[in-house]
Homo-oligomer: 417 residues x 2
């Protein structure tokens, strides 16, 4: 087991060897946000035939050469083609067909004049513009050709992809399974949110903030509950999480006499990879794994509420995203100027809770106040985590630093009103 390692090294140790979870079949409407496990090939050509991109008239462009508002031309109205219908016959020279958006072009027609450039005149139609050949026509296969690969494996499905899949007649799709995360709290002082806190008990709030963080990362969290701080109770609770993809515990990983988590994990067959990362908050974070296929990835996070979420952010979240097939594992990062001078000792990387404000020369980061790892409220107020590198001892007001953005709203453009 490694100890006292750098954040980057710890992240590498976590992510090395994590592969996306195997695929499952889900409905297309339910696939939003999921990652394709296989290529999607088109089973049909779209549009299936040349069709109109407008409501207007289908005709031969040559019949209207030179038409303008001043020099209108007339053609005979032959028939009408609605969307979902087809033309009764080919269009002859000198004829136009009323046509609607999406309707197939009659044979003989090569372009469409939009309704706004025409005037109906009984059995004839007056045209005030000359189309180029192919104008307002969507060619067969313009969007997709049958047999073509339309979406590559690894594509994250957003609303347009859902539309593409639906348009190809797909109702189901193969995507990487979502990681199942089992969450455990450990500590004799812990109670559930609706239980009595008399006598120094405190709510096991980490279980709920970590579950929310899992949900936000697209994973499925289940609560193993609160284990008492005995090897026996911890073992029973940890065993219940061994069938999940990831096991996240909080508390019980410092160096105290009551730290039973690591020995129990080892007893269960977990190989501890590291304990102790040179970061603040979160130094005592522990990571282990079982032999491939025999158990979950295990993260034993510190019990302080801020430490738990900050270590989740740096290690658990990227792991969950990679398991889900995501290729981008980092948060948005922006370069911000410091609104105040920050100082620390060299040695540990600090993740400073900051607000971000868009000012004239770019974003300015300011501490949200008390940076104690117990003050969860200062994380609730934060827009991001400013990275104060391990070896740095001072970041002067006005200098620039990287900020991991937790609240994407701060990146929004000018408000739309």
């Amino acid at each position: 087991m490694r100890t006292g390692i750098a954040v980057e090294e710890a992240r590498r140790l976590v992510l090395d060897g994590i592969a996306p979870l195997p695929p499952e079949t889900v409905t297309v409407p339910g696939a939003l946000g999921r990652v394709l496990a296989v290529a999607v090939t088109a089973g049909r050509t779209l549009p299936p035939a040349d069709c109109s991109a407008m409501d207007g008239y289908a005709l031969r462009a040559a019949d209207l050469a030179g038409a303008t508002r001043a020099a209108a031309r007339e053609l005979a109205l032959a028939f009408e083609v609605a969307a979902g219908a087809s033309a009764p016959r080919a269009l002859r020279p000198g004829e136009a067909a009323r046509i609607f958006t999406g309707a197939p072009l009659p044979e003989g027609a090569d372009s469409v004049v939009m309704q706004e450039d025409t005037e109906a005149a009984g059995a004839r139609v007056r045209f005030f513009a000359a189309p180029g050949p192919g104008e307002h026509v969507r060619a067969a296969g313009e969007d997709v050709r049958a047999g073509e690969t339309v979406l590559e494996p690894g594509t994250r499905l957003g609303p347009p992809h859902v539309g593409v899949l639906a348009s190809l007649g797909r109702s189901f799709v193969r995507v990487h399974r979502r990681p199942r995360v089992a969450i455990l709290s450990g500590g004799d002082e812990l109670v559930e949110p609706d239980e009595d806190v008399a006598g120094g008990r405190i709510v096991a709030s980490n279980a709920w903030s970590l579950a929310a963080a899992c949900t936000e990362a697209g994973a499925l969290a289940t609560q193993l509950g609160i284990a008492r701080d005995t090897p026996r109770d911890l073992e029973r609770s940890l065993r219940a999480g061994l069938a999940s993809d990831v096991l996240v515990s909080s508390a019980g990983v410092s160096v105290g006499d009551h730290d039973h988590v690591r020995p129990v994990l080892e007893k269960l067959g977990c190989r501890l990879v590291f304990w102790g990362v040179e970061m603040k908050p979160g130094y005592p974070v522990t990571f282990g794994r079982f032999e491939e296929g025999t158990g979950p990835l295990v993260f034993a996070l510190p019990g302080n509420p801020v430490s738990a979420l900050v270590t989740f952010e740096q290690f658990v979240r990227p792991a969950l995203l990679r398991l889900a097939g995501r290729r981008t594992l980092a948060r948005p990062v922006l370069r911000a100027r410091l609104g105040e001078t920050l100082r620390k000792k060299a040695g540990r990387c600090h993740f400073v809770r900051v607000t971000l404000a868009r000012e004239s020369e770019g974003f300015v980061a300011r501490s949200t106040g008390n940076q104690s790892s117990g003050v969860l409220r200062s994380l609730a107020l934060a827009h991001g985590l400013l990275v104060f590198p391990a070896e740095a001892t001072e970041l002067a007001a006005g200098s620039a630093a990287d900020v991991q953005v937790l609240v994407a709203d701060v990146l929004a453009g000018p408000e739309p009103v």
Copy 2:
């Protein structure tokens, strides 16, 4: 009804007069992403008493003045305080108490020395460091004081907020209701994804891409199905959506003979606010509203798949976010250099589907190819929509433009490995 208006004016007409939906009570774990409708006041003080921030020893700082590794001091081990327990008696001068993270400080103690700076020696403990008064102690109320407002109305709940609420013993919370959106497709050529497309029929894919876009915006979408293009069928379908907060239809809003949507909406009592916005794609977008409290906001979107999603993005999404209580309504916007020259006629604002690549001097935006409003695939490939302003006719390669970011992953920092 206004027509031919600018995008900004249309957005203002949509958003003016939209207020957040009334509150509902939801469980705290289920409140992730929702917006608080009321202030949250602390019902308890956290921590409830001065407590240890470390595993170590509680003592009087004065008893260890001057201790170093070279000049260790010893104190008598008096008793132990576990988290969730309390001290059996006050600590006397010259004594130390073994204490664990989160445990209450014994009366008489004023600081904690962490375990790493100590050595147990039978009934005594050797100390290698002198703490400052209050060191490694979390003062009572450091996080929250009972009666204090902890979270303001309008706060969007992320994982830390869920943790804060849980730690206060809250199981339920009042948040703004999520908007209910009814989605309707209109057109005789349309079928469901699993139906036969022989004879020029096409899948009503907009219904599914728009539902996904609603979900992504935190709204609840229901499918009204496909209405045939007759006033009677449209009226029946639209009536079914009148009890929702928002009604979104696609197709049937051009100027063709088959456009029955607007007259039917008016017949049902909807006041049409605008039809036709100077944008491409999406000119024929229509917006209407009912007298307050008598019916939904109504968006009749163009039928082309790209037009439907681009107009959703500009008008429906900000409306849904405001209904849900969100205060930031815009997507992240970044300034990108153009990788190629773009040209158009003056008059309409173009939303150009682009990829974004982080290059040495910042982001470069490049067209995803065919910008026909029928080619949904080019939206599926896009990272964002480049705003080509209405009056501009050329954006030269290398010049800068605003891009609405649809895929936040492109903003990610350097990968964590």
